[in-house]
C-alpha cells in the first residue's frame, strides 16, 4: 500500500488547474433550458394534442400541468444543490409541496381518463405511442443530468438520483400531457424513478463501477 505522504506527493504532481463548477442554480437552469428545447422540438415534430385549447380552460388540468412543471423545476434545483457535498439535505424537501399537488391531481386525471375512454379501457396503440414519446423525452434528459452530476457517484448518488429521476419524470409528464390525451403521469413516474432506482441499486451492488463510464477519474 502506498503511504499517505507519497499519495499526497502524487496528487500534488497531478494538480492541474481545474475549471470550477458554475453555481448550482445556473447549472439547473441550463439543464431546464435543454429540457425546454427537447420538449419544443418534440412539439414541433409531434404536434400538440388537438383538445389542448379546451383543456387549458379546465382548472384541474391547468393545476396538474403547472404542478408537474413546478415539480420538475424544483426537483432539478434540488438535485443540483444536493450534488454538492456541503449543501443541506433539506433541499430534498424543495419539490415536496409541488409534488403533493401534482400527485393529488393524478387520481383525478386517471378517473376522468377512465370514464372518457369507457369500460374497454385504453387502447394498446395509444399506450405504446405514449410510452415511445416518454422514452424519447426522458432518455436525453436523464443522460444529460447523469453527465452533469457524475461526480456525485463518489458522494451520495441515491438522493441525487431520486431528485434527478423526479425532475425528468415531472418534465416528461408535463410534456406528455401537452401531446397526449392519456394521463401518463403514473407511467412517467414509474419509468423514470424506476431507472433511477436501477442505477442506484446497481451502484449499491457494484460500487462506483456503474458510474465509471461517466464518473470523473
Amino acid at each position: 500500500m502506498i503511504t499517505t505522504p507519497d499519495l499526497i506527493e502524487s496528487l500534488v504532481a497531478d494538480a492541474e488547474p481545474v475549471t470550477r463548477l458554475r453555481p448550482p442554480l445556473a447549472r439547473a437552469a441550463l439543464w431546464l433550458l435543454f429540457a425546454a428545447a427537447i420538449v419544443a422540438l418534440l412539439a414541433a415534430s409531434h404536434g400538440l394534442r388537438p383538445d389542448l385549447g379546451a383543456r387549458l380552460g379546465q382548472s384541474p388540468f391547468v393545476t396538474g400541468i403547472a404542478a408537474s412543471m413546478l415539480t420538475g423545476i424544483l426537483a432539478a434545483v434540488a438535485a443540483f444543490m444536493l450534488s454538492l457535498p456541503d449543501r443541506s439535505r433539506l433541499w430534498l424537501l424543495l419539490p415536496a409541496p409541488a409534488l403533493a399537488v401534482w400527485v393529488s391531481t393524478i387520481g383525478y386525471g386517471c378517473l376522468t381518463g377512465w370514464v372518457e375512454v369507457g369500460a374497454d379501457g385504453i387502447r394498446l396503440g395509444d399506450v405504446i405511442d405514449c410510452f415511445a414519446t416518454l422514452v424519447l423525452i426522458s432518455a436525453p434528459l436523464s443522460l444529460a443530468i447523469l453527465v452533469m452530476l457524475r461526480y456525485t457517484a463518489l458522494l451520495e448518488p441515491a438522493r441525487v438520483a431520486v431528485m434527478g429521476g423526479l425532475a425528468v419524470s415531472a418534465i416528461a409528464a408535463t410534456a406528455l400531457s401537452l401531446f397526449h390525451s392519456f394521463d401518463a403521469t403514473i407511467m412517467a413516474l414509474m419509468w423514470n424513478l424506476g431507472i433511477a432506482a436501477v442505477f442506484v441499486g446497481l451502484a449499491g451492488v457494484f460500487g462506483k463501477k456503474v458510474f465509471s463510464w461517466v464518473a470523473p477519474r
Partner: protein, 220 residues
Amino acid sequence: MSKNSSERGPGLSVVDGNGHVAAGAHSVSAGAETRVTHEIDWTIFMARAQGGDRDAYRRLLESVAPYLRSLAVRSFHGRADIEDAVQDVLLTLHTIRHTYDPARPFGPWLTAIANRRIVDCMRRHGRSRARETSLEAEHETFAAPGANLQEQASDGRVLREAVDELPPGQRDAIRLMKLGGLSLKEAAAASGMSVAALKVATHRALKNLRKILRIQDKGT
C-alpha cells in the same frame, strides 16, 4: 451518516499545528479563533490549488490529513484501515476539487466528503469481512511450491549434502568462497592453494554440484 455540526466542531481543532493550547476562560475563544484561522487558510489554499498552485495544494493536503485521520479513528481501529480511509478521502477530494466554491467555507465541504467516504469504507470493510478470512502465518499458504518458503530450509540441507559429495579440493573451494563468502585471495591464504587452482576447483565444483542436484531432482 447524520453527522451534525457539533461533531464537526471539535474535529477541526485537531489540526492546530501552532501549539496554541489555550486554557481557562480564554480556551473557547482561542480555540474558535484557531479554527477560523485554519478554515481561512484551507479556503485560500484550496482556491489556489484549483488554479494549479502545487505548493498551496501540498500544504492543504498535509494539513488536512491529520484532521481526516482524527475522523477515521472514530470508525476504524487498525492503522492500515485508518490510512486506507484517509487516502480514500484525499483521492475523492482530488477528483472532485472542481466542485468546491471558494466563496463558501472549506471545512464543511471537506467534512461532508470525509464522512461519506468513511461510511463507504466501513461498508466495504463489512462486506469483505463477511466474505473473506484474513491470511494468518500458520495457515497453509498456496499449493505452488514456490510460495511455501519454509521449504527453503530443506533445500539448504540438500545443497549441503551435495557439497559433501564433492572431491575434497572442490569441497573446500566451495565452502570457503561460495558458502563462507571469502575472496579469492583470502581463500588462497586459508587453504594453501594457489588462486588459479582455486578458480579451477570452484568452476569444477559448481559443474559437479549442478550434475548432482539434477540427478537428485530427477530421482524425486
